[in-house]
């Protein structure tokens, strides 16, 4: 009884603190104007891929980092590296294995202000593995339009993306760069 009362007070205090800083604004990324890209290295040369289908729910305000939250759902089947053969290989059982893991999911946990913008730490679930991936981004709000642009780096093998031959990093590097640009629209 006592513990429960104490818990309620704590929740009330946290809510008060959040409201003092102002709540984050809720947005949805405009699918037509937003992009989510990745860059891998194969045979020493970079190649770029895009996810054509993803949704991003963004709660953000520069003065309300405590209540900020990104929730991104990615349709892995929508990947496009501008080569059908490569796309099929990446969708296949040894890489994304989309027959078993058709989507990836990213949810942030905490935000911090940095010199260049913001850093968020969130959990990425990809290929059935959940691991923390930090993202660096900038929030640009001008003329009533808000935009988030950022980058991340991850190691594909930490998520098991690379079975069999593809476990080797001699032909396809482990590190994959991610870049995103989210054009934000108020969530309805």
């Amino acid at each position: 009884m006592m513990r429960r009362a104490y818990g309620s007070v704590a929740i009330f205090a946290a809510a008060a603190a959040a409201s003092a800083a102002g709540p984050a604004t809720s947005y949805m990324a405009d699918p037509a104007a937003s992009r989510l890209e990745f860059t891998g290295v194969q045979e020493g040369a970079e190649f770029k891929g895009t996810f054509r289908k993803f949704t991003a729910a963004v709660d953000f305000a520069p003065d309300a980092l405590a209540s900020a939250r990104f929730d991104v759902q990615i349709d892995l089947n929508s990947l496009d590296t501008m080569d059908k053969d490569r796309d099929q290989t990446i969708r296949g059982p040894d890489l994304f294995d989309i027959a078993h893991y058709p989507t990836a999911h990213y949810v942030t946990r905490s935000f911090t202000k940095t010199a260049a913008g913001y850093t968020a730490v969130g959990a990425l679930t990809l290929h059935g593995v959940t691991k923390d991936v930090p993202i660096d981004f900038q929030f640009v709000s001008a003329a009533g339009k808000s935009k988030i642009e950022g980058t991340a780096k991850l190691k594909r093998l930490e998520f098991g993306v690379g079975q069999g031959d593809w476990k080797s990093t001699s032909e396809v590097k482990d590190e994959v760069k991610v870049a995103f640009s989210l054009v934000l629209k108020p969530a309805t």
Partner: protein
Amino acid sequence: MPNHDPPTRYTGVAQTFHWIIAALIVTQFIIAWTAEDLPQGMHKLALLGRHKSVGMTVLMLAILRLLWRFKHPPPDLPSAMTPVQRRLARATHIAFYVLLFAMPLTGWMMSSAKNYSVSWWGLFTWPDLIGKNETAFNILKATHDTLSFILLVLAVLHVLAALKHHFWNKDDVFVRMLPFTKSEKRS
């Protein structure tokens, strides 16, 4: 006094270019034929990566070789050769030079058209020559394949001709491209 006598042998540099490029081209055929039989996968990707690095090496050597040749004309053909034979020899050599450039360039463009940029041994990446274009890729692949067949036929003729010169005509046409040998006046 500078020596104005026409050269009787290829220079050591020309010989080096010839034999290194010849060895690289043999390597290219072996890699290409091996890769062709492989299914889409990492081994094929790896082999084609090597094929591109070797090909770009050939292209760079071909540029240097051509520059060297402009400054250092090759020795004259034996006087015993007929005008038709001379024309054939000359045409073959010109065709080789054209192919030394056309093979790597069509390969490079193929890679660009398929959106697989060409790296040089992982050290740096060459710029894409054309944009992603599937039709262009198919045409370039057909061209690259056809040129490789022509190159193969020419190479066989070239080797047979060199051997004929050496064993049949008993002139120095073969030996003068061979390092660590001396050309005797055989014709």
